[in-house]
Amino acid sequence: MSKTDEELIVLSQQGDETAFAELVERYQNKVYTLAVHLLADREEGRDVAQEVFIRVYHALPRFRTDADFLPWLYTITANIARDRWRRRKREKGTIRVSLDEINAELADHRFSPESVLVKKDVSLMVEKAIASLPWDYRIPIVLRHSHELSYEEIAEIMKIPLNTVKTRIRRGRLLLKDILAPMLEQRRDS
């Protein structure tokens, strides 16, 4: 029988590496997925996920076992991803993916022999579209749509008021609707 999160956390707090490895196995996909969707970069997402678990390992002794583990992981992931994003922005200048760039990619696909976007390409372009949003809109959008969290859970993870979460999600969605309009149109046509 597999151990509960709480048991694994207690064992990890006592220095049991096997228990910690099991925790990593259990949550690596969620952490990695969030990092990739926030940064639209698989390599960097993997680095972020690794850093998250290292930080978790060091912070575990201070973690209260009665608290929820996953929201805590999401908070750490979002913080580390934000630091990475800022660093990348400092090093490479502004890296907002422009609407034109996404539309140009869509146009390329439109006239390709296959004519229909394959599912993987769609996901990559949606990731790019999300990465073009301002950072404050990106986290709630990803947590709401990819991770299916409630507004309350997002507010707790981001440590912001509920109404702010709602406003950011609404604005983010409106921006995304504009960005993704050509893609939606193409889907309708096909």
């Binding site: 490895a21 996920a49 996901s123 507004y151």
Partner: protein, 218 residues
């Protein structure tokens, strides 16, 4: 045809989120059936929501192992730090080193100032200069006369130049010595126990500050 935006349009995303209350949701559904504008808008938003449902990703094989390896590497580095306390990238050691260097500098400065203000040191300098003078005269007497004369000439020029430099320096030095004197007068005003007490409290305060800074950066 009307340009007026339907009030129900505002509720479309809330409806898709499942956040509308049961009654409002029922009213919304009823309205959608009769309003082509809202129906079209709902379809568009459904498309957006569908696109935003991104699949879960996997970090690939060996991820857990890479995390554990990174942790082991970190532990190894921490052990190295404990074995070699003078490694400079540990902020705590940098603080200690700075403290020791400051103490050495202060001690050296105090002893030098103390000695320079004492008459015994001036006498010693006088004896040294006389000895050097006799030595130079003896060496010059052994040299050929034209070379010795030329060297005397050069020596004179050099001493004139040195005098000018030293006079300037002396004035600066006297200023520093007066500061030193004031400093030592202050030291002598307080009893040794007061100085010991101040040193100990200063050191403890430094330790506490160091610990606080360490916790903050951790």
């Amino acid at each position: 045809m009307t340009d007026k935006r339907c009030v129900y349009q505002e509720q479309i995303t809330t409806y898709l989120d499942g956040e509308l209350e049961r009654e409002t949701a029922a009213q919304f559904k009823k309205h959608i059936e009769s309003c082509p504008q809202c129906s079209q808008e709902l379809k568009e938003w459904e498309g957006v929501f569908d696109l935003l449902k991104l699949p879960e990703e996997e970090p690939g094989p060996g991820f857990t192992k890479s995390v554990l390896n990174a942790l082991h590497r970190q532990k190894g580095e921490t052990a190295d730090l404990k074995q070699n306390p003078l490694i400079l990238h540990d902020p705590w050691n940098i603080k200690n080193l700075t403290l020791v260097l400051s103490a050495i500098f202060l001690l050296a400065f105090s002893i030098t100032s103390w000695l320079l203000t004492g008459a015994e040191q001036l006498l010693l300098i006088h004896h040294i200069s006389r000895f050097v003078g006799i030595f130079v005269d003896t060496v010059f007497s052994l040299l050929p006369a034209p070379l010795a004369a030329w060297l005397y000439q050069v020596g004179n020029y050099l001493s004139l130049f040195a005098d000018a430099v030293l006079t300037g320096l002396q004035q600066k030095l006297l200023l520093l010595l007066s500061w030193g004197e004031t400093f030592f007068m202050l030291i002598r005003l307080l009893p040794p126990t007061a100085w010991v007490f101040m040193l100990v409290t200063g050191f403890i305060a430094c330790l506490i500050l160091g610990r606080l800074l360490e916790n903050k950066t951790a």
